[in-house]
C-alpha cells in the first residue's frame, strides 16, 4: 500500500468510529440504548493511531469510553451496536453494555467502569507476556481523571519496578467528567510523575493520527525490545459530554467550536483531499454509511440474551450456591 492508502485506511477507521458514535447517540436519544453511553467523538485519532502501531497479538485495555478502541481493533460495527442494544449478538452477549466491550479474538481485553481499576490489569497482562516470553506488549488507555486514583500509581509503580512491557496512554481530554484538569491535578503535565517511577515518558498533542502512531510506535518498541514501560500523555478533546446525560455547562460552546476546528479526523480528510483521493474518500464514506445502517438494522433485529446465560457466565459449571 502507498502512504496515502495507509492514511486512507486510518481515516476509514476514524470515520467509522465517528459515524458509529453519532448513530449510537441517536439510538440512545430514541431509548434504544440503556444505561450510560460515553462517546469517543473527537478522540478517534488516539485509539486508531495506537492500534496502527501495534501487532494484532498485542493486548489493549481501556476505560468505559471503549467503542472506538474496539472498532479500531477490528470488532465489527454489527457486534458493537448489538452490544449497545443489549442483544445476544453483541460482543459481550448483551451482558456487558456500552462500558464493557470485550473482544478476546482481537485481544481487546475490555472496557472497565471503575476509573483506574483497569490499569493494574494491564500491568498484569504485560506481566503474563513477560512470564511466558511471548513477545506481546500491552497498551492501556485512561483519562487524565484516572491519574489521581491510587490504582494508577500502583500499576505504574509495579510496572516500572518489575520492568513490564506495557504502555500507559493517558488520553487527556481536559475534563474529568465536568471538572477541568486545573481543578483535579496540581501538576498539569501528567507525565511529570514518570520520573518518580524511573519510567520513560512522552507528551504530545494528538492532533493527527500519524503523530499518535509515530509516538506510540517508539513506546511500543521500548516495551517490546527492552521490556520497559512508558507513560504517554496524548492531549486530545472530546466534543460531546462526558456521557449522554451531560449538558456540558462547564465549558463554553465557543471552546468546543474552536477545538472542532482542530479535529484530527478533518485534518486527515483534508490531507487526503489535497493528495487527490477525493473519489476514494467518497467511496469510503458511502461504504461506512452502509456499514452503520446495516449495524443498526442488525442490532434492531437481533434476539435478546436469555436467562440461561446468567449462571453460565458467573461460574464455570453449576454448583449449589
Amino acid at each position: 500500500m502507498t502512504d496515502h492508502d495507509n492514511h486512507l485506511a486510518l481515516y476509514r477507521q476514524m470515520q467509522l468510529i465517528r459515524r458509529f458514535e453519532e448513530e449510537a447517540a441517536r439510538a440512545y436519544a430514541m431509548g434504544k440504548i440503556g444505561g450510560f453511553l460515553h462517546l469517543y467523538i473527537g478522540q478517534e485519532a488516539v485509539g486508531v493511531g495506537a492500534v496502527a502501531a501495534l501487532e494484532p497479538t498485542d493486548y489493549v485495555i481501556t476505560t468505559y469510553r471503549d467503542h472506538g478502541l474496539a472498532l479500531a481493533r477490528g470488532m465489527t460495527a454489527r457486534t458493537a451496536m448489538a452490544e449497545l442494544y443489549g442483544k445476544v449478538t453483541g460482543c459481550s452477549k448483551g451482558l456487558g453494555g456500552s462500558m464493557h466491550f470485550f473482544d478476546v479474538e482481537h485481544n481487546m481485553l475490555g472496557g472497565y467502569g471503575i476509573v483506574g481499576g483497569h490499569l493494574p490489569l494491564a500491568a498484569g497482562t504485560a506481566f503474563a507476556s513477560k512470564y511466558r516470553g511471548d513477545g506481546r506488549i500491552t497498551v492501556v488507555f485512561f483519562g487524565e481523571g484516572a491519574a489521581s486514583i491510587g490504582d494508577c500509581h500502583e500499576a505504574m509503580s509495579l510496572a516500572a519496578l518489575w520492568k513490564l512491557p506495557v504502555v500507559f496512554v493517558c488520553e487527556n481530554n481536559e475534563y474529568s467528567m465536568g471538572t477541568p484538569l486545573e481543578r483535579t491535578l496540581a501538576v498539569e503535565d501528567v507525565t511529570a510523575r514518570a520520573a518518580g517511577y524511573g519510567m520513560a515518558s512522552d507528551r504530545f498533542l494528538a492532533d493527527h493520527v500519524h503523530t499518535v502512531k509515530e509516538k506510540l510506535g517508539k513506546a511500543i518498541q521500548r516495551a517490546r525490545e527492552k521490556c520497559e514501560p512508558t507513560l504517554i500523555e496524548a492531549r486530545t478533546y472530546r466534543y460531546r459530554g462526558h456521557s449522554m446525560s451531560d449538558p456540558g455547562k462547564y465549558r463554553t460552546p465557543q471552546e468546543v467550536e474552536d477545538q472542532k476546528k482542530k479535529d484530527p479526523l478533518s485534518r486527515s480528510r483534508t490531507d487526503l483531499e489535497k493528495a487527490g483521493l477525493q473519489k476514494k474518500l467518497e467511496a469510503v464514506d458511502a461504504a461506512i454509511e452502509e456499514e452503520i445502517a446495516d449495524a443498526v438494522k442488525f442490532a434492531e433485529e437481533s434476539a435478546e440474551p436469555g436467562p440461561e446465560l446468567l449462571e453460565a457466565t458467573t461460574y464455570k459449571g453449576a454448583f449449589a450456591r
Binding site: Y59, G90, C91, S92, K93, G94, L95, G96, H100, F102, D103, V104, L109, G110, Y112, G113, I114, G117, H118, L119, P120, L121, A122, A123, G124, T125, A126, F127, A128, S129, Y131, R132, G150, D151, E154, A155, S157, L158, L161, L309, L310, A312, T313, T314, Y315, K316, F319, A320, R321
Partner: protein, 346 residues
Amino acid sequence: MSATESAQDEKAKPADDKPKEVRFREAIRLGMSEEMERDDRVFIVGEEVGHYQGAYKVTEGMLEKFGSKRVIDAPITESGFTGVAIGAAMVGLRPIVEYMTWNFSAVAFDQILNNAAKLRQMSGGQLNVPIVFRAPNGSAKQVGSQHSHSMEHFYAQIPGLKVVAPSTCEDAKGLIKSAIRDDDPVLYMESETLYSLKGTVSDDPDFLVPFGKARIAREGTDVTIISWSRMVHVSLEAAAALERDGISAEVIDLRSLRPLDEEALVNSVKKTHRAVIAYEGWPYGGVGAEIVDRIQRLAFDDLDAPIERVTTKDVPMPYNAKLEQLVIPQAAGVVEAVKRVSYRSV
C-alpha cells in the same frame, strides 16, 4: 504485626507407609508446591513471600525451590498486585495471591469485587479468572481493631467468587490444591492461630478436597453445631464439655462457605432438630445469617427450637486481652447456646 515462630521444627518426616504429619502452614505449602510442580502457569505473589520466607512462614523455602520468577515479592500495593494477578489470570496464568492478612485485602476490594468476580460475566463468557487469594483471617492474639476482621462475610456474598476455610491439615492441603485447579476465583481463608496445628496429610499428588462438601468433625444426635476454620476447634471443645452434661453434639465443619453444602446441614438438623452456628464475624448479616435462612427454609418442620448464632460481639475488636476474649466467641458461649436451644438450664 509480626510473624509467628520459626518453622524450623516442621520439616516433613516421611514415614514409609504412614500418612505424613505436618503443621497446618506446611500443609498449605505442600499443596501449593505440588501444584507449582504440576503446572508452570502457577506462581505466587505477595508481600514478604520470597526472601523473608513468608510473614507467617507459609511460603518458607519456596523462593529457593521455584526461583524469583514464580515466587514474587511485591511492594505494599495490595490493590496493585491483586490487579496484576487478575490481569495475568485473564490471559491464562494461574496466580496465587498471598495477603499478609485478609484485613489488607480491604484496599484491594475493588479489584476482587469488580474485576475478579465479574470478568466472566461482563465479557459474555469470553474471559475467566483462575486465581487463588489466600491469607490468615479472623482474630489472632491482641492484634487490635484493624487486624482482626473476618473477611469471609464480605466476600461470600459476591457471585463469581468461591470461599473456603479449612480447619484441619488434610483439608488445608486438599482445598488449596482444588483452589489452584479451579477455573474461577477462590478465596482461601487461613487462621494465624491454626498455623502450628499438627495433622496428617495425604502424599497423593492428586488428593483433592472438593468444594461444597462439609465434613462431620464429630458425630452426635442431640444438636448440630455448625462452624468453620478456627471455630471448629472451639466447637469441638464445646462438644466435649456438652458430652459431660449428657448432650450429644454433632459438629459440622463447613470447609466451604460458597458453595455451601445445604444437604449436609439439612441432614444433620433432621437428625438433631436443633442448630447452633459458631463462627468469628459480626452478628449483623454474614455467612451465619445465611445458614440460618437455609435451615429454616429447608428444614423448618424438623426444628424443635430457634437456631442460635454464637458470633464475635457487635463491636470493633479491642486490644485489651480480657476484652478481646470477651468479644471473640468462646466454647462456653457455644455450650450456653446449645443448652438454650435444648431448653436445658444454663
